[in-house]
Symmetry: C2
Subunit: 186 residues, 2 copies
DNA sequence: GACTTTATTTACAGATCAGTACATTTGATC
DNA sequence: GATCAAATGTACTGATCTGTAAATAAAGTC
């Protein structure tokens, strides 16, 4: 099944939202950017919020697939894959279009804890945590869940800092810290 | 000198922007919230962007003063003050109105690297880094600047995660990681 | 108290916001 | 090819956006 019209719209909306922000991007801009008419857009997505939620679902899928795959390509053992996460991050930071984490930005614009967009952003992070936690467990490290949380703090910090200071340096700082924490848990 | 009208406006605008976000807060809402008229508002601040920049300046002053003071109150030595930073963070996370870092959110809404709001947000982080770097140096730790950057990655990660998952747990995870990194640099 | 300057209010401009009613086109079915 | 249903385009709504022009009030100054 080739990508449906809807999927195509989500994909293009993802780019615009990521580059431009959520509130700053109007439906008119999306309509202009995608070439589709407004009625069609609202036929595919009941509201702007629905569109954003669809965008976040796609982003979650894309990002986690990419990150997990890249970690596996770069290292063989679970332990080394944890470390490779930070090299993958560096690759991401180097991309010209890098603009930080879409979920952090989504939760920054939709702050209310019970807002669907906020909840879905939190869910993305939770799934990352589960995955990293399992890698830490497979690697036979002590307190794998605590370690996973700490590695993810380094990851989030690195993403935010790389975006704010527009440099990829935080990836290597975080990697060095991660190695230290992993060795201590060995 | 008692707070001028302008300072009062900045203070109230800070609360509204922090609670509500930047794009989501219109000048009309601020005018209603502060009781002042629209023309007065625009007499004090040429544009919404100017108001936001003034808000961020106040936030920078408030936050760094509060954090540095709290670190000193909680610990005597530079080394322990570095660790106490994470206890101070936990205090912050526990506050009912906690909504994450205003500068991360500002840079999330004004992403362009050469936007004044983005630049000013980055400057806040840079000043924190200098301060923490000096503490690490005073504590006689190895590679004080690298360590400072790593501790701040933990801090940013903890803030983002605490906001996203609305729990204060990241503060203690970050603290434990920080202690490990500090001991390794001892 | 008259005069000047400054701050404030009211009322509005033009653009854009999310969302929709209705006409038109398109594509499938007979 | 006629008929019908789904997708699309046009044109609009009322609300809200940032920002402003002109009228009014307040506060000094002589």
């Amino acid at each position: 099944m080739r990508p449906s019209k809807r999927d195509e719209l989500v994909q293009k909306a993802l780019k615009v939202f990521y580059r431009n922000g959520f509130h700053a991007t109007g439906m008119d801009m999306l309509v202009a950017e995608t070439g589709v008419s407004k009625t069609s857009m609202y036929n595919h997505f009941r509201t702007k919020e629905d569109l954003i939620l669809a965008v976040l679902r796609l982003r979650d899928e894309n990002f986690r697939n990419w990150l997990y795959r890249r970690m596996e390509e770069r290292a063989d053992t679970p332990r080394d894959q944890l470390i490779a996460m930070f090299d993958a991050l560096e690759e991401w930071f180097e991309e010209p279009g890098f603009r930080g984490c879409m979920f952090i930005k989504a939760s920054a614009e939709y702050q209310n804890a019970d807002h669907a967009i906020h909840i879905q952003s939190a869910e993305h992070k939770r799934m990352l945590q589960v995955h990293v936690g399992e890698l830490a467990r497979k690697a036979g490290l002590e307190n794998p869940d605590v370690l996973a949380r700490q590695l993810l703090l380094l990851k989030e910090g690195a993403i935010v800092t790389a975006h704010l200071q527009h440099t990829q340096a935080p990836a290597q700082d975080a990697k060095a810290a991660a190695i230290a924490l992993i060795e201590l848990a060995d």
